[in-house]
């Protein structure tokens, strides 16, 4: 299978700290990649670079075979790379429908970039997007703060699906979720594969990502210390790598 993202020799410094050391990584299309590592391993730095939030100090990124340089998250999103951050993926007080369309509202009577929202269309499409990820909620007008943690992750994933993301980067999507809710989120992510979405699942909890991952990448101290298909490794081996670096 072809690679959707290829990173070559990425380096990133934050005021003298070498946060990402010469990282190279290939991500296959339509796979689930587990990116694991303890706090401070450089996972966040890597995803910030892949999502366009930060720029690497050196190195190259190829997306679908083309060299890319993201200046903003918007540029990465336009190519189909969507990032879901742990705490800040949704606006709690806003409705599900409004959350799904933030920054990408469907508008009419446009003047330049501004226009009136097609509220009805957005509500209908939001419900459809939720149903597509098997999430059945009462109303698209429900504020997100009335949803459970798992449901919220479902809304975020539904949003990424609706906008035809090719790559979904999930930053600790199962943190602080109950076992039941975690399983719900894992099912969402597993379902993405069959719909042609590649996911990069970042976590420090190996047991969450191991069951659904096709490929695993372990990081420590800003470096990649292991990078292998699941069939070539075991959970014990990975745990050993995580603990002992």
């Amino acid at each position: 299978m072809e690679d959707i993202i290829v990173c070559e020799g990425l380096n990133k410094y934050y005021s003298g700290v070498h946060a990402l050391k010469n990282l190279s990584l290939k991500i296959k299309k339509d796979s689930v990649v587990g990116l694991i590592g303890d706090n401070g391993a450089g996972k966040s730095t890597l995803i910030k670079i892949l999502s366009g939030a930060h720029q690497p100090d050196s190195g190259h990124i190829y997306f679908e075979g083309n060299k890319v340089k993201f200046k903003s998250t918007k540029e990465a999103m336009n190519l189909g790379i969507e990032t879901i951050y742990q705490y800040s993926a949704l606006i709690p007080e806003m409705s599900i429908a409004r959350n799904i369309f933030i920054g990408r509202e469907q508008t009419q009577y446009n003047v330049g970039n501004f226009g009136l929202m097609k509220t009805k269309t957005m509500q209908d499409d939001a419900m459809k997007a939720l149903t597509d990820v098997e999430l059945h909620l009462r109303s698209p007008d429900t504020p997100v703060n009335q949803l459970s943690g798992g449901e919220r992750q479902g809304v975020v994933i539904a949003r990424a699906m609706y906008f035809k993301s090719k790559v979904l980067i999930l930053d600790e999507p199962t943190n602080h979720l109950s076992v039941k809710e975690t399983n719900k989120v894992l099912r969402f992510v597993e379902g993405l594969k069959s719909q042609g979405v590649t996911s990069i699942f970042i976590t420090h909890n190996l047991s969450h990502v191991y069951p659904i991952a096709d490929h695993l990448c372990v990081m420590a101290r800003g470096e990649k210390i292991a990078d292998m298909d699941k069939k070539d490794t075991t959970i014990d081996h990975l745990t050993d790598l995580l603990v002992n670096g």
């Binding site: 903003s72 998250t73 806003m94 949803l147 459970s148």
Partner: protein, 326 residues
């Protein structure tokens, strides 16, 4: 969706609670003195209210985006003072109005620039501007408040119709246009997102700095516009005009259900909040209560409104969490 549920979801909307509070106060004062709601009193109260409505809308939208503006009271005085002085200098009235309103826009821009560029709280940036703009107003009076130049087209803004002044229609126009912008346009969605969670909004590609800057400029413009209307109504530019207005407009917004933390509020709420404050003031006088009680009443109202809204929103969140545990 059952009818029952939609009624409950309506009741938890903060501006609905404000509206109920408004009705309670109107009925209460009407019982105290029937003349509270006769045409004469409504004409008096609604003659001065539009200016406060316009400022409150600007403050509310800025607060929803997650920022404050304490300089509105000073801009409220500075803009009309410069318009009047420019007309005295021989600048054509409409051009003077244009330049004066530009000052409101510039002050808003400077507030936004200082807040966003230097990453300091808007509370501080605009507190500084409160003093600067007030000082400039006093300097611009050149020692003595100038007379009102009657070539200014003030009738267009404040003409007294049978019951209402033209300024009320201007305020309604502002409310409708900005209400549609905030609640129906994509810009409104960005404003709520920015105030609700700035990190989340920017991770979804919203230029939150630009959104806030827009709200700062809008707020400055509206404060200046409202100040101009007051001067046109009084036909006297006073350097003390709008004193303490910054707190009163924040009060109107908060009573109307706008959150101090951003992301929550409506234009309708701010409008009701502003009207409520003016009728509270009038009601206290009409009920022959010592007018000094007005501030105590306003203070209590602010606290009640915020306590109530906090209670309601906690309850609403709890409904969601209980459901999640099912």
């Amino acid at each position: 969706m059952s009818k029952n549920f939609s009624l409950r979801s309506l009741l938890v909307r903060p501006e609905v609670a404000t509206f109920l509070m408004f009705l309670a106060i109107m009925i209460g004062f009407y019982i105290a003195n029937e003349r509270f709601l006769d045409a004469r009193n409504i004409r008096i109260v609604m003659g001065i209210t539009p200016e406060y409505i316009i400022v409150a809308i600007g403050i509310a939208i800025l607060m929803i985006s997650g920022e404050f503006d304490l300089s509105v009271g000073s801009v409220f005085a500075l803009v009309p003072m410069t318009i009047v002085q420019m007309v005295h200098q021989g600048i054509p009235p409409w051009f003077a109005i244009f330049l004066g309103l530009m000052i409101g826009i510039i002050v808003g821009f400077v507030n936004g620039f200082i807040t966003l560029r230097f990453g300091i709280p808007s509370f501080i940036a605009t507190l500084g501007m409160l003093y600067i703009a007030r000082s400039l107003t006093t300097v611009a009076t050149a020692g003595f408040p100038p007379p009102f130049p009657h070539i200014l087209p003030n009738e267009l803004f404040v003409y007294q119709f049978e019951l209402f002044r033209a300024s009320l229609y201007w305020a309604l126009l502002v409310a409708v246009v900005l209400g549609v912008m905030l609640h129906r346009s994509n810009v409104g969605n960005w404003i709520y997102a920015t105030g609700g969670d700035q990190n989340a909004a920017s991770s979804m590609g919203i230029k939150t700095g630009n959104v806030k800057m827009f709200c700062f400029i809008l707020c400055g413009f509206l404060a200046g516009f409202a100040g101009m209307i007051q001067t046109f109504r009084l036909e006297a530019p006073l350097p003390s005009q709008g004193y303490l207005l910054e707190l009163e407009s924040i009060a109107a917004a908060v009573i109307g259900g706008v959150s101090l933390f951003g992301g929550i509020g409506t234009v309708f709420g701010a409008v009701i909040g502003a009207i409520l404050i003016r009728f509270l003031e009038s009601g206290i006088i009409m009920a022959r209560i010592d007018a000094e009680w007005f501030r105590a009443g306003l203070g209590s109202l602010i606290i009640i409104a915020v306590v109530f809204n906090t209670y309601i929103s906690r309850r609403a969140t709890r409904i969601g969490q209980n459901k999640a545990e099912d």
